[in-house]
Structure formats: C-alpha cells, structure tokens
C-alpha cells in the first residue's frame, strides 16, 4: 500500500500523528532473564526485540568459525575476545508470516554491522581467548529494525558488565519525499516506521555516547546528496535523545538494585538516588 506523503505538507503531521522530530514510544527492560550473563528487551513503537549476551566465555567448537567470518576479530583470538552476533527473525514478527533462513543476506549484513560496531567499542583486549555471544531475537517488526537491535545490544552488554567506551545508540532518519520527487526542500524525518521505510529514503545512524562520532551509518535507498546532510543531523540528534532515554533506564535499574540490596552502595558511585 503506497504511503500518501502529500498530506504531510498540510498539517506537518506524519501518518501516525508524530511531528518530524518525534521518536516513537520507547520501552526497555534490562536483565529480563536470569540464566544469561546479560539480557534486555526493547520496544521502539511496535518493533520489539530481545537480546541475550553470553560471555565472555571459552569459545565453543561450533561458534569459532562463524565468529571469524565477520572480519574485525578474525584471528584475533590471542589478543582479544571475538564477538559473535546471531540475529533470529521470528516467523511471526511481520504482518504476513515469512520465514527467513539463517543465510538471509539482510540478516547477515545486520549481524556483521553490529559485530563491527561492537568490536570497535568494547574493550575486547581484556578478554583474550574468549568469545562474547550476542543473540538477538526479533519478535515484532515495524521499521527501524537495525536501530532497535543496536540499542538492545547496548543495554544487554551493560547488563553483562562488559567494559566499553560508551553507549552505542542508533536511530533512523528519513526524508519527507521520495527520491523520484526530486524535492530538494524536503524536510528530514526521525525514527521511521515500516510504512515510511518502504516509501521514503532513509538511513540508520549510530553514534558513540553523547558525542557526534558516528559508529554505524547504513543507507540502502537512493537519496539526493543535498538531502543527506539534513538527514544525518536529525539522525545524530535522535541518537542523542536515545542515549538519554537508555541512560535513564540503566540508572533506574541501578538504583533499584541498590535499594533492593543486590549491589552494595559505595562512595565511588556517582549515581544520584533521589528519584
């Protein structure tokens, strides 16, 4: 079903009633599963993903091959942990049931993108001869899938306590008119859903912490180069908003753990426990 983009200019409201720079509702939980070293659940609108992190652990015989396939840590067993990312897209996640095998190109590309971003961000040199396995499950998809996966991975890695430089937060940004319209004055949009993704050019951007350092940038659609800068600026700004939200969730969980007595309170903690 084609998306009617012509109404946007009338009220400056998108199809789901958001303004151009509104994120969808974000809901996230950390430590959703007791058996795993780290786990998280993240909802961005109707996109729902789960992440389970295992490790750093001794590499298993079967995993070693796949981990090196993604480049980055190839042969890096001696001086750092290798990172293995598995994405499983559930058959029931989209509106029409579609089964995607493990060898699906899109899924493999997402795996490699996440793996490379993590390899640069995590302090893997602290864990030689080991593997960090990140398995991601997509339960429901409605746009911004890669962004949701990256955000969920960040939360799960924080839960697992694996040292990293900073949060990697991701977000999508698009443009209000299609490539064919050739409209150079098109406004940028933040956080697209499936309908918008199918119709409009968009990119996924992930940044490191509060800085403007771009960790991941994926753009698979045709877009005029003049529009790219605007989209990128909006995307990076969205990542900053996302970081604030995720940080809030992590802090909330942390203060809850201290209140429950799961963690000893120490003088070194800079967490304010007022709320």
């Amino acid at each position: 079903m084609p998306l009617d983009t012509s109404t946007y200019s009338l009220a400056l409201l998108r199809i789901d009633g958001r303004r151009w720079n509104d994120l969808r509702r974000l809901h996230a939980q950390i430590h959703t599963q007791d058996a795993a070293d780290g786990s998280s659940y993240l909802e961005m609108g109707h996109t729902k993903v789960m992440c389970v992190v295992t490790g750093p652990a001794e590499p298993q015989a079967g995993q070693q091959k796949r981990g090196t396939g993604g480049g980055g840590q190839a042969g890096g067993q001696k001086d750092g942990a290798s990172i293995v990312v598995n994405v499983v897209v559930a058959g029931f996640s989209s509106v029409d049931r579609k089964r995607r095998g493990r060898n699906d190109r899109r899924i493999q590309e997402m795996e490699i993108t996440i793996q490379k971003a993590l390899a640069a961000n995590l302090h893997v040199h602290l864990f030689p001869h080991s593997t960090i396995t990140v398995s991601l499950h997509v339960l429901s998809q409605d746009g911004s899938l890669l962004a949701a996966l990256i955000n969920a991975t960040t939360l799960a890695l924080i839960d697992a306590g694996i040292p990293m430089t900073d949060y990697i937060t991701a977000c999508t940004a698009g443009s209000t008119s299609s490539y064919a319209a050739g409209d150079d004055s098109a406004d940028p949009l933040l956080d697209l859903n499936t309908q918008e993704e199918q119709e409009l050019p968009y990119l996924t951007v992930a940044t490191l912490g509060d800085s403007d350092k771009v960790a991941v940038l994926v753009c698979e659609s045709r877009v005029q180069v003049s529009r790219l800068e605007g989209m990128l600026v909006v995307g990076v700004d969205g990542c900053r908003q996302m970081r604030r939200l995720l940080d809030g969730i992590v802090r909330q969980k942390g203060s809850k753990m201290i209140k429950e007595g799961a963690v000893q309170r120490s003088d070194m903690m800079a967490v304010s426990l007022e709320d």
Binding site: Q60, A90, G91, G101
Partner: protein, 365 residues
C-alpha cells in the same frame, strides 16, 4: 543438543547412585515427581493469533507465536474425483459437515524451532519440531479445527523461539509454551456460509478461541510432552541437566486431556479430566557419551605394576560393572520402568494432573 556437562566419571557415579536410591536424592532436593517452578504469560504479541512466553526457574526461556493464513485446499490426489466431490457437495448445499471435516490433513500445521547458535536445519532441531508436531496431531482432532469449508482451510504456523542458550534439553519447556500459545490462539469468526469464499468478522473481540474456554468444552485439549528419565529403579520427572547426564534412559511422554460432558445427570459434580497417552518416544540421553571410570584395581598409575593377573582383572572390570565405578548406560528401557512411568503419569492426582492444574492457573489473555 543439550550441552555436555563437565562432570568426572566419579561425580557421575556418585550422582547415579544417589539418584537410584529409594526415595532418590536429587541434587536440588526435589522429590522424584516434583517440577521446578515456572513463570508463564500469554498474549504477549498483539501481532500474532496467539502467543505465550514461559520462563523456567533454571533461567531458560521460550516464546511461541502462532500465525494463521487462509489457504485453498488442493486435491491430494490431483484427480477429477475431487472436483466432482466439491461440485456435488455444493449442489446439495451443506451435506455432512462431520464427514467433510475428516478430509482435514495434518500438514496444515507447520512448526519450526529456532535455537540460537544452532543451524535451523540441524538434525536435533528438526527432530524436536517434528516430535512436538506429531504429539499435537496425534489426537486426530487438531487438524479438523483448521477446516473452514470444502475449498478453504487455515494453515497454522507455529514458530518456537528458544530465547536462552540451551542449558538443558528444552523439550518440556517448548511443549508447555506451545500448549499455552495454542490455548490463547483465536481465529477470526467466519461470517460466510457453506463453500463460498470465506468472509470473516473484522471484530477481533468476537473471534473465537481455537480451543473454546468456558461452558460446554468437549474434546481434546492440546497435548503436552513431559520428559521423564529412569535412573536405576527410580523415575524422575523434569530432570535437570545433571540428572539427564546420568540417566539410564530418557523418554518423551506426550499426553492430552480429553474433556467429556457428563450428561447422565449423575451425582458426580467433580468432572475429573480424562487423560490420554498420545505418544512415547525414547530420547538419546547425553549419558551415552560420557567416558567410563577406571576402577582403582585396574588403574596402572595407582598400583604401578602391570602383570598378567592385573590385565585379567582389568578385562573383568570392563565386562562386569563395579559398584561405584561409572559406566555409560547401554541398552533400552525395561518394561517394568515403562509401566511405572505410565502409572505415575496417568494415575488420578498424578504428575500430569499436577502439571495441567498448574497450567490452568495461567491467566489466558
């Protein structure tokens, strides 16, 4: 499938002997028929026809989503006979619906299991999916629920996701999650009649459940599959990973509850459930792959000498198992063990009753 436990032969022997005591002493202090606690919820994914999530107390977690699609029924034999059958039936208008329903086929249910870190065409995964599918279809009533009319039927896709790494053999977890998801499954209400193209009520609230809830609910409920292991003479339900590692044999027992209406107007108020054993399958326990222990009499490193008498002793030790020395179990399951498993499962107030009572406590969204 289940990860190999890192237990030494001495540990295995110790575990085996304490489990074969009467009553058995289990590492986590449970009785032989006691299950581990679990948390469950249903209706977690609004985008599916039915969904459920179950977390076991050992931390393993599974999610099941059910999706239904309409499909045109094609003739299984590809002949004119079927066309005639459709025509004649539509001419008469109606006919015997029960007889038509028997044309339902098991292949309308499709099942997949996804386990992280394993290939999706892994033999173990495929076996697991087929085991669960077979147990569901074995009652012969399930496929009939998918029948719409002579020309159309529902195709049901059941996708099982194991979220956690496979810490123990995930069969009971997946089976319980599937059971709950099917109980929470609803299909749109049919508005059209007879053999015309199906039309459905778009009010989701009016959609009936695949397995009706209240009132006169008769017929079988979705089956559950329990894992039972035999160690020596004792039978253990819901084995943990360590217990599975010393099991003499492991069995997957599938059973379903059949609700019958009692219309005799008798005095019986308590309508007890009728349990039906659907299938029983042996599963290759990981204990078959454990290395054997060496008795100290045959241990050359301990005695330091190796003469012919000792070699003979060693041979004898290999032939006859010694008390306290681990040896991987061989052979099948004794009939007495099978019999007592069936007894324990099917008796009134037995294990199956307990599990089904527990599952009934789950709030179905």
């Amino acid at each position: 499938m289940a990860q190999q436990t890192l237990l030494s032969p001495a540990e295995l022997a110790y575990l085996h002997s304490s489990l074969s005591l009467s009553p058995p002493i289990r590492p986590d202090g449970r009785t032989s028929k006691q299950f581990r606690p679990l948390t469950a919820e249903t209706g977690i994914l609004p985008g599916t026809n039915g969904s459920a999530r179950v977390c076991l107390s050992d931390g393993t977690e599974a999610i099941v989503g059910v999706k239904a699609e309409i499909e045109k029924t094609v003739d299984p034999l590809g002949g004119e006979h079927y066309q005639e059958y459709v025509k004649s039936a539509s001419g008469v208008g109606g006919g015997d619906a029960e007889a038509d329903r028997s044309a339902a086929r098991g292949e309308w249910l499709e099942m997949t299991v996804e386990i992280p870190g394993l290939r999706d065409d892994d033999a173990g995964t495929v076996f697991l999916a087929e085991l669960l599918r077979e147990a569901l279809l074995a009652d012969g009533e399930f496929a009939k629920k998918l029948w719409i009319n002579r020309r159309f039927h529902w195709r049901l896709y059941l996708d099982i996701l194991l979220i956690s790494p496979p810490l123990s053999y995930p069969l009971p977890l997946l089976s319980l999650t599937t059971h709950l998801a099917l109980l929470a499954t609803r299909l749109p209400r049919l508005k059209s009649e007879g053999d015309e193209d199906p039309m459905f009520d778009d009010d989701w609230e009016a959609a009936p459940f695949l397995y009706p809830r209240e009132g006169a609910t008769t017929g079988p409920r979705p089956s559950i599959t329990l894992l039972v292991v035999a160690v020596g003479d004792s039978i253990l339900f819901d084995p943990s990973k360590e217990e599975l590692a010393v099991a003499d044999s492991a069995l997957a027992v599938s059973l379903c509850e059949v609700r019958t209406q009692r219309e005799q107007g008798g005095m019986e108020v308590d309508s007890g459930r009728e349990l039906r054993l659907v299938s029983m399958r042996t599963i290759d326990p990981p204990s078959r792959l454990t290395p054997p222990g060496v008795p100290s009499t045959a241990n050359l490193a301990a005695s330091g000498t190796s003469d012919t008498t000792q070699q003979k002793q060693q041979q004898r030790a290999e032939e006859h198992p010694q008390e306290g020395v681990w040896k991987a179990p061989l052979g099948g399951t004794r009939f007495a063990v099978l019999d007592s498993i069936m007894q324990a499962v099917l008796e009134k107030g037995g294990v199956a009753d307990e599990v089904l009572d527990g599952l009934e406590g789950v709030d179905l969204a």
